[in-house]
Amino acid sequence: MGDSDRRPEPLKCAGCGADLVKSYHTRYDSEEEEEVVVPLAKCVSCGKEYDQHTGEYYKVFADGFIQDKDNSVFKLGLKGTLGGVEYEIIGRLRYQDEDEYERSVWDEWVAISSEGAYHYFVEEEGEVYSYEEYVPESIDLEASPDSFEFEGRSISKRDAYTGRIVYAEGELPWKPEIGEPVLCYDFKKDGAHFTIEHSEDEVSITRGEKVEYQAIIAAFGGDSDKDLFAKTVKKRQSYGRKAAVYIIGFIAATGMSVFSCLSEKEVPGVLSESKVLTVNQYQNEGGATSYLSQTLYGPFRIGEGNALYEATVYVDQGVEPLRLGWESFRLMLIKEERLAKITGANPDAALLKNLFSDIDSNAEPVESFAVTGDFWDEEGQDSEGYWHESDLSSSSSFVVEEPGSYYAYLEQYNDTPRSVNSVKFRLARVGSYRYYLALMGVFLALFFYNRSRGRSYSELPYRASL
C-alpha cells in the first residue's frame, strides 16, 4: 500500500463540481429538547448539503477528527513484544462514529507479527484491545433481516454502527478512502471480543481481548512513557488512599451525627402543672387586632446544666385545628428562684398576670431564655390549581447553663379566639449534630474529589485507562 498520510483530495460538489465548504445550521433536537448546531458540508455554488452520512462530509471536516492523532503510545514503525510475540506497527486507520455529530473516534493500529500475520490494536478512549484475524466455523450474515448467525449463535443487527474512515497512514492491507463507511458489529462470545467489519466489498472478522495499558506501555513505550506511567500509577494510588481516608471520615461523621440524633431525652412533666393567666383577651395595637392567651407551666426539673435542649412548640390539631388562620407565640424559660424573688412563693394568678403583662419592661429580666414563632394555615388557587399549606410546629435549640427547677411561660396571639390548650410544647435534651452534618458534606466532597483525581490523573501526554 505504500503511501502514508493520505490527505483529503480537493473537494468538489458531486452535483455541480464547485467547491465544498464547512457550514452549520441549527435544528431542534427532540431528545435534548433544545436547539443544536449541526455541521454540514455545503456547495458554494448550488448550495447542496452533505451531512455525516456522506463521504464528502468527512473530507471537509477531516481536520477536526485528527487534531490529536499523535497523542498515543503507538507510532508507525514501533516494535514491541507482547505475550511473547514481536509486533511492528505498520499502519493506522482512524474511524469516526457516523451517528455522532461530536468527535467520537477510535484508532485501529495495524501491526505485523514476527510470524508474518496481521494484527490490530484498537485504541479508544485510553483503552486498548488486541485483535487478530479469525475464521469462524460458520457465519451467515443474511440469516434474517434483524440478525445474523455466528458459530451457531444469533447476533442482533440492531447493535450495528457505522464507522467512517477519517485518517489513514502507513502500510495497510487495503487502500482506504477518507469518508469510506464500514459497518461494524461488536459482540462477545465465550469471553472473547469479536468484531465484524463489513465494507463495500469485504468482510473482516477479528477476535480479540482487552490488554492492560501497563502491558502496552511495557511492550511499545519508551523510557519516558514507562517513567511517566509509573509516576501516574503512584499518584493515582496516592489519591485512592486519600479517598479512603475521607470516606472513613464521612462514615465516622455519619455515625456521630446519627448517635447525636438518637440521644434525645425528653424532660418529663413540663405540661403536668399549669396556671392559665389570660384567655383570648382582645388586643388592638395600631389597628391590628388579636387575642392574647397566657399560661404558666411548671415547675419542672431540668436535670443537666451546660447541655443542649430543644423546645418544640406545636399546634395540637386534636384540641382545635388551625384552619386558614395564623397564630404567634412566645415561650419563656424562667428559673423558679428568679420568679420567687419577685412574686414570693405560691403566687396567685392575678399577680402573675400583672407580672407577665409587663414583663418586657422589667429592667432585670425574669426569664432565662425566650423563643418566638408563628403558625399559619393557608389555601388558594394558582396556575396548577388548588393548594393548601401550613406550618404548625416550631423548634429552637439552646444551651441551658444551669440545672434546676424551671417554669415555662407561653404567650399566644391569635387572629380569632382559640383554645388555650391548642398550643403545646415539649422540651428535650438533645445532641448537637449540625456540625457533623457539615463535616459529612466536607468529607464527601473531599472523597469525590480524590476519587475523581485517582481515576483521571495522568502525566502521560495521551489518554490511558489504568
Partner: protein, 63 residues
C-alpha cells in the same frame, strides 16, 4: 496520605469540640439575662419592648 489523615483528624477534632461545647448555640441563663439587661437599658420606660409579637416574621408562608 499523611496530610489527608492530619486534615481528617483536625476537621473531626474541631467538629467534635464544637459539638461538645455547643459553639454557636444561644445560651439560656446568665448570658441571656446579661444581654437582655444591656438591651433594656436603652429602652425608654413604658415603651413596648418587643413591639407586639405576632406577625414578626410575616405570616405569608404558602405559595
Amino acid at each position: 496520605m499523611i496530610r489527608s489523615l492530619i486534615i481528617a483528624l483536625l476537621l473531626s477534632g474541631g467538629v467534635f469540640a464544637m459539638s461538645t461545647w455547643f459553639v454557636g448555640y444561644p445560651r439560656a441563663g446568665m448570658r441571656y439575662i446579661t444581654a437582655q439587661k444591656e438591651q433594656r437599658r436603652s429602652v425608654r420606660p413604658g415603651s413596648h419592648y418587643y413591639g407586639g409579637h405576632y406577625g414578626a416574621r410575616g405570616f405569608r408562608g404558602g405559595k
